[in-house]
Amino acid sequence: MQLGRIVKVLSWVFLVIPFLTGCWDRLEIEERAVVLAIAIDEVKPEAAKEERDVSHLSGEVPQSQKRMLRLTVQIAVPGRIPLGPAQGGGASGEKPVWILDVVGHTVEDAIYNLQQEVADRLFLGHLRVIVVNEKVARKGLQNMNDAFRRNPEIRRAAWMVISKGEAADIIKLNPELERVPALYLLTVLDGAVKQGKMPNAFLGVFWSALTSKGQEAYLPYVEIQEQKSILLAGLAYFRGDKMVGTTTPLEIGHFMAMKGINPGGYSALSDVPGESGAVLFISSDRTAKIEVEIKNGLPHAKVKVHIEGDLAEKSNAQFNLKDPKTIAKIEKRIGTKAGKAFEELIHKTQKQGSDILGIGEIVRGKHSAYWNQSIKTMDKWQETYKEIPVRAEVTISIRRVGMKAE
């Protein structure tokens, strides 16, 4: 028993020793520079002169990394954001975030450069929004995605958005609704998802689409309105990691309808056949199905969408909604119009070979024999997608007409 006790004590000693040597990872929350948002812009290679040698010697940059990026970051300043409901207007004069910019050859490079000038350790665990300049996106996001993927602090649920114009401007914006600009941008995006204005296309979804062989990626596309507010201007769609085009806001709705993403947040103003007035239709619930058939060695896709919704407005109209025929007419009208619009969007993306709907995935999944035989790679599908015929078929059901009876 004596021996056993000694062994027991010894084992405890061994257990405690590693603890005593230090708290390697302890880093208090106020000692972290909490980065809330990052904006990535491209700058001319001459800007390299601004850079000091932090992660590499000046002459020794790999050839492929000649392009220069400018990172603008928003760091939360601890004392400025009060705990609990703000009392009075005490700290309103002071900005709750600190905005810094830095240049670098890659994202990680720039972050290391930034660390060199910030006292606290940069903490990316609360990075919510990454804004990327359209110009950068058009040249390809492969490298920055790699950096973000490797860093365990980055959330997969963070947002990546493409900006029209300088990304830094979006970060520097001072919105009125929220004290912290990055959180406002977050609210804009989250709110849009909740209202059905945008698919929930966070970073993880983007990455998954990016790697999928039969689907291309898309990201929200934002734009500053008169230096004040942020407009959700559409979706930026990609071919591989390169951005190739944008949609209009309404086309986001079309896209979501074809993917069957709910809730529906877009409305359509439609004329009524045979009458003079117009009605405003708001979609609420949609189901969609993409059917693919292989004919003559080419996939034929048919997008079947069923949209349910309400009538929100009837203008200049003499007709009476009580007549079931009228409703049927309106339904049909909106259906054909929507079908055309959907096909247009598809043609638009087909021109760029950017299959954001994921028709390729369906081919790969459901017609794998064909896929294995004649497609196999992502590049091949991008080419094939340009040629395939796609038809959209939309049916509409008007469920409610609001509080007014006729």
């Binding site: 390697w24 790697t211 999928s212």
Partner: protein
């Protein structure tokens, strides 16, 4: 050493479940997807079946020799010299398995959460946890597994359910995969993740009703295998095959993508990893326990406590051998596949020889007079 017959069928099944489910879950989807593309669930299923075959062999042997563990009855079946060699190989194999498990988890922890903590510290903490606990008897062993089992099952199921909103069925298609390359090796590697089932050979002699061991192994394998399968399916459906190939620990990434409703926790990866300590602990605990009990029986000692600290340095050194994560995974694959010889092929041989030579253990009732 007489062991008290206290373990119920339920406990035996639970021991199997919590032993099998461990750190392997984190990398499993990647391994399966690399081998079979979208056929990953199929590969996992085949792996489960292969492992289950091994488990059935162990169970049949255990029911044939209800009061002995494999170390003892292999001597009866094959004769002392060969059986002893086999037992030594088993002990060494489980030492390596323990080491690699602790190393793998250590790597996960220092890569994703404690990024500046030395690897040695995280590994030795896990090992010490197992060492201290192995000093208890087999009843407490069963209790510990029993108690932690809900802690192991709930987070996985929770994450799978929460992640379903991002899932797309088409990513699972076609179920046999577009370009399955190395399907066979993949099945072996997946089956190797189930090698913890070998612990059953230590459990059966302590079971109250050894004749019902088969029920325990069917349930244990069904639940553990089912859980592995839904993880693979969920990961694949959320990320898609190509994305999974890029992720070192897809299951962890799954936890990262999901958040609890109402913003209680914004991301679940660190919390998941914290809870996962229990799962890894139970796995380590079992393999360490198996190792020292096998050694105790091999050298016919009365008290297993002596060995529990004795093996620690060796296991620790083996754990430190691989240079980096990628090399470690290569080693895990190789060791795992080789291990199937021990955990599946060896029991099969034993069983067949036992059948041919008509060897049979003393029955439960007769044992009392020994």
């Amino acid at each position: 050493m007489e062991t008290p017959r206290e373990i119920t069928v339920l406990q035996a099944a639970i021991i199997l479940i919590s032993t099998i489910i461990g750190v392997g879950v984190l990398a499993l989807p990647r391994i399966a997807v690399l081998a079979g593309d979208t056929g990953a669930p199929l590969i996992t299923l085949l792996g489960i079946l292969l492992a289950f075959f091994g488990l059935v062999m162990i169970t049949l042997l255990g029911m044939r020799f209800p009061s002995q563990s494999l170390i003892r009855y292999s001597e009866v079946i094959l004769g002392k010299p060969i059986a002893r060699f086999g037992s030594i190989v088993i002990i060494v194999f489980f030492a390596v398995l323990t080491a690699l498990t602790s190393r793998e988890f250590g790597e996960v922890v220092i890569t994703s959460v404690l990024r500046r903590t030395p690897l040695e510290v995280t590994v030795i903490v896990m090992l010490l946890l197992a060492v201290i606990t192995t000093r208890n008897d087999i009843t407490t062993f069963a209790y510990i597994h029993h108690f932690y089992s809900p802690l192991i099952l709930t987070p996985v199921i929770l994450i799978v359910i929460l992640s379903l909103k991002n899932a797309e069925v088409v990513r699972l298609l076609p179920i046999w995969g577009n370009e399955p390359n190395g399907m066979f090796l993949g099945v072996l590697t997946v089956a190797a993740l189930f090698q913890g089932f070998f612990i059953l050979t230590m459990i059966i002699p302590a079971m109250r009703r050894p004749d019902r061991a088969m029920t325990a192994s069917i349930w244990g394998m069904a639940i553990a295998g089912g859980l592995y399968l839904i993880i693979v399916i969920a990961t694949l459906a959320v990320f898609g095959a190509e994305e999974v190939k890029l992720l070192l620990w897809p299951t962890l990434e799954l936890a990262k993508t999901t958040s609890l409703p109402a913003n209680i926790l914004e991301r679940l990866d660190a919390a998941f990893l914290a809870v996962w300590v229990t799962a890894v602990f139970t796995t380590l605990f079992s393999s360490y326990f198996l190792m020292i009990h096998a050694a105790t029986e091999l050298f016919q000692l009365r008290n297993h406590r002596m060995f529990s600290l004795f093996f620690l340095p060796f296991v620790f050194i083996i754990a430190m051998l691989p240079d980096n994560v990628l090399e470690m995974y290569k080693l895990i694959e190789i060791v795992g596949r080789f291990g199937l010889l021990i955990t599946v092929v060896y029991p099969t041989i034993l069983w067949m020889v036992a059948l041919i030579r008509k060897k049979r253990g003393k029955s439960h009732a007769a044992r009392k007079n020994r």
